[in-house]
């Protein structure tokens, strides 16, 4: 692995060495390192690009890393990763995609991650997107995440894209059974002429289900962000969607929270706010000795923490 690839791996998965537990590292379209454990099995599909991951029932405190890194300009791929998580598991899955494109051709990673989470299992899913490189070729990503949560299952998703990706359309769809709970914390920062569209759609189909989606975005310079947070409450359930954005320079943000209730006992709330950094916030940090630029960076960093 060369220095560029090592840096990408660090940025998307905070890995400086091979991780403990199960992993599959995909480099420029091929699996470059893999480890399975007694409880987590990873198989490559033969008829398409991607992995079938099976986590045995009762697997606790184990982690799985599946980073994707692309350093070859012009590489385009579509990958399907399916996760079958048994009952009563407690696992952490760290995914992420880093693209370094110093060439003239567009590099693109499209991925579909499907999670089938067994009864009473808990999954923490972390996904980071990162791009770098000074070439004219764009860095593009269009990930789709599908999650089906069985009765009593919990999934916590932390997704982030902090700069470097020129064009992205991310789709997240989830279906929740009885007493299942989903939380999504999404963070995005765009600058330059980047475009980012995020759609998150959650259907709560069982009594006692709950979902909490918090999306925070910062659109700088001439970038464009669109976010749709849609929750359907089809049972006695609770849903909350919060979309909070900071707009800077000539950025454009379109935030659309959508709530749909088909059951009288569904309780759904949405909040959406777009605003610039308040002058008094800048002033407060300046009274602590920061320049205006430092104050702005500190506020954005905190907002996207």
């Amino acid at each position: 692995m060369d220095a560029i690839q090592k840096n990408l791996l660090h940025e998307v998965a905070e890995l400086d060495a091979l991780p403990v537990g199960a992993y599959n590292i995909r480099t420029n379209g091929k699996s470059s390192a893999r480890n399975t454990t007694a409880n987590i099995d990873i198989e490559s599909y033969e008829d398409k690009q991607g992995l079938k991951i099976t986590i045995k029932p009762g697997t606790k405190k184990e982690s799985l890393h599946i980073p994707v890194i692309i350093s070859e300009s012009g590489l385009k791929e579509l990958v399907y990763n399916d996760f079958y998580i048994g009952e009563d598991c407690d696992v952490t899955i760290i995914a992420g995609c880093g693209i370094s494109n110093c060439g003239g051709e567009d590099s693109r990673h499209d991925g579909v991650h499907s999670f089938y989470v067994g009864k009473n299992s808990r999954v923490r899913y972390i996904e980071k997107h990162y791009g770098e490189g000074t070439g004219a070729g764009k860095r593009l990503m269009n990930p789709e995440t599908v999650a089906e949560l069985s009765e009593g299952a919990t999934m916590e998703m932390e997704t982030s894209q902090i700069g470097g990706i020129d064009d992205t359309h991310r789709i997240t769809r989830a279906k929740l059974d009885k007493n299942a709970a989903l939380t999504i914390h999404d963070k995005i920062l765009t600058n330059g002429h980047q475009n980012a569209i995020a759609e998150m759609r959650v259907d709560m189909n069982g009594d006692g289900g709950s979902c909490d989606i918090i999306s925070r975005g910062v659109a700088k310079e001439d970038s464009y962000q669109e976010v749709v947070l849609a929750i359907s409450g089809n049972a006695a359930c609770k849903g909350h969607a919060e979309c909070d954005s900071i707009i800077m320079d000539r950025g454009v943000i379109l935030a659309t929270p959508q709530l749909k209730a088909t059951n009288v006992d569904a309780s759904l709330i949405h909040e959406a706010a777009i605003g610039k950094i308040a002058g008094e916030q800048l002033m407060k940090l300046m009274t602590l000795g920061l320049s205006e630029k430092e104050a702005e960076d500190t506020i954005v960093q905190g907002f996207l923490r």
Binding site: M283, K284, L288, L290, T298, I299, F303
Partner: protein
């Protein structure tokens, strides 16, 4: 030493401050006066948050009139907001770290927060967002300004909105600041007990300095202007209360 020379400030033909001239070289100066008299504007002009229409501001002889806020802060001016600012995502620890600079440590944060009646363990990782009450925000704001231990600490009505936290603790903070730092404290207050520990008091009215004199002189005049409760006065209780609350502040040795 802070010197204000012929400071004027007007917004849309309305004069907020009129030819303010002050030399502040005492350790503890209180600014008082009716609502709308220009007290907050005066302190904001010193911090650089508002530019005066005309006039000059000197800090230790250096002209800071056109200096940005952060440069004044780095020269040793601090400011505690009357209405503390909230930040989504920034934590108490982040701002205390910025306020304390190189001197930050968990122990220091702990002692600063405990001075304002907050337990560091419960608050240090709390976000400065709307999950904190107005009173909690206010205490953190005061703690942050105290943590800087600056040459000149400006407090805009620190007593406003301090909820159930005892007023005595607030006075204790200023006593501590007075003892432990060599800096000056300028504080906007309507509270008799804060005015009673000041070395000097500035009385502003309609944008003008009506009086700038040692504490007792101004307090005497204020008592004459607003006699308060006639029955208490008759019993001499008011005088007794005021006398009790006056505790001379200890100076830092050297």
């Amino acid at each position: 030493m802070l010197e204000l020379q012929h400071i004027n400030y007007a917004v849309a033909d309305k004069e907020i401050l009129k030819d303010v001239n002050l030399v502040i070289d005492d350790r503890f100066v209180a600014v008082t006066g009716p609502n709308g008299s220009g007290k907050s504007t005066l302190l904001k002009i010193v911090m650089g948050m508002i530019a005066p229409t005309s006039g000059k501001i000197l800090l230790d002889g250096v002209d800071i009139t056109n200096m940005p806020i952060n440069e004044r802060a780095n020269l040793g001016v601090s400011f505690a907001f009357q209405q503390p600012v909230r930040f989504k995502g920034l934590r108490v620890k982040d701002l205390l770290e910025l306020a304390s600079g190189k001197n930050y440590s968990f122990n220091k944060a702990c002692s600063i927060l405990s001075e304002v009646g907050l337990c560091a363990k419960d608050y240090i990782f709390r976000e400065l967002d709307d999950t904190l009450s107005g009173g909690e925000m206010k205490r953190i704001e005061i703690a942050m300004t105290a943590a800087r231990g600056s040459k000149l600490s400006l407090f805009d009505e620190p007593e406003a909105g301090i909820d159930l936290w005892s007023f005595k603790s607030l006075i204790h903070i200023f006593e501590n600041l007075y003892e432990k730092t060599a800096g000056s404290i300028v504080i906007i207050s309507h509270q008799e007990r804060i005015l009673a520990i000041a070395d000097k008091i500035i009385y502003l009215k309609d944008g003008r300095v009506e009086q700038y004199a040692p504490r007792d002189e101004v307090l005497t005049r204020l008592n004459v202007m607003s006699p308060g409760c006639a029955i208490l006065d008759e019993k001499g209780e008011k005088a007794e209360r005021a006398a009790k609350s006056v505790r001379p502040l200890k100076r830092k040795e050297g």
